[in-house]
Symmetry: C2
Subunit: 224 residues, 2 copies
Amino acid sequence: MKLALQINMNPSLYLRDPEGTDLGKNIIKHSIQLIHDTGFEAFTFKKLAESIGTTEAGVYRYFENKHKLLVYIISWYWRWLDFQIGYQTKNLTNPISKLKKVITILATTVEDDLMTGHVDESILHQILISEGSKAFLTKQVNQDNKQEYFKPYKDLCNTVGEIILECNPKYKYPHSLSSTIIEMAHLQNFFMNHLPSLTDFSKSKNESEIINYLEDLVFNTIRI
Amino acid sequence: MKLALQINMNPSLYLRDPEGTDLGKNIIKHSIQLIHDTGFEAFTFKKLAESIGTTEAGVYRYFENKHKLLVYIISWYWRWLDFQIGYQTKNLTNPISKLKKVITILATTVEDDLMTGHVDESILHQILISEGSKAFLTKQVNQDNKQEYFKPYKDLCNTVGEIILECNPKYKYPHSLSSTIIEMAHLQNFFMNHLPSLTDFSKSKNESEIINYLEDLVFNTIRI
DNA sequence: TTTTAAATAATAGTATTACTATCTTAAATA
DNA sequence: TATTTAAGATAGTAATACTATTATTTAAAA
């Protein structure tokens, strides 16, 4: 018997549900690998089709363009993170421990979750660091937002925001602080690995230093 | 008599110095406008050439590709900001006032600086918000870094980091906090205008709210 | 079991992008 | 005046981002 975690996705992101077929699952699986290997700019549906062993037209039957595929993949990860946070904090009564757990989850490269067969979360985490903001830093952001493409991100931001408010109900900027933590968990990681002089982390490149920085930032900010 | 501010740029960013000729200055001027109007993804050298009234090949004589042009433009803005910070804080003795001034400069849409003829800083500020991180979120970031393309950003980060240390010499993460302030001054602005539920700012979309958020964040973090 | 519908594979084609190359003209400099 | 240098004009190519068509396979419904 196998436990499977099904994450429900916004249907207007795709033309045909990739969860429903083998080819669809392969598109998700291989695009995660290929975006990670080549970067989003060099990623094309042609290369993706080749790596799967199908044709370009085959991929186009599932996704209108590579932007929607990126948004799909990234939304998937936000939803998965949101689930992880709920799951891993549900037995914690102390909101401070909860918030610490959240920071750790956001800033740590996860192990591949075996409950989600064709998705490798550890690579997804890397994609989020390098490509995540390209999902919304576009001219079409307002249209995309109307289609609710960013709801998973907003939901996650809310989840974290509520934990912040549990720690300090009077704190005035729970959502902004939440989006700051989420973005910085990724960006400080990118800087640590590629532009270290924008950080204060040692050459060991250890994620725990990012966690320490974020904990210091957050708990001083909300005055705990 | 005219006062002109000359910002010196990394020569390996360009093939021919755009500051040296009319066509070069037009390339800078029109690319700022065009990147702002169309977004970096849709921006091409052909469209740029058309808007200037020259040919595609003409633009290629100045810049190898659009990525280098983006890095050029963004580096220019980091240098200009660094200069602004030095200039506008030089008479301030209190480091806290200095840091407040820095936050305001970073988070405020500037007026067009008349000392820099062909560059419109207010549009550049918008470009930085929407396209800034695309300069380093690439597969070539390590090569670009070796060529010192990000030195202006690092210098700015250092300038701000030193002011943070003046406020609290014992604070452990001056560079990370500095890059956090710089990035968030832009990103919270983007969120405020396009994805407001990721922030706590009112519908008035006033930059002063971002400044308040960042001041609260920074001064609580460094425990002032 | 047969029919038929749906998904996929195979192939071709187009407009645009991201360049490179070459040749000519104009202007500045020696 | 001769000569370098920048700019304009034009052409060409490989790759990208698609759309369209037809044939073949597979799976579901009759």
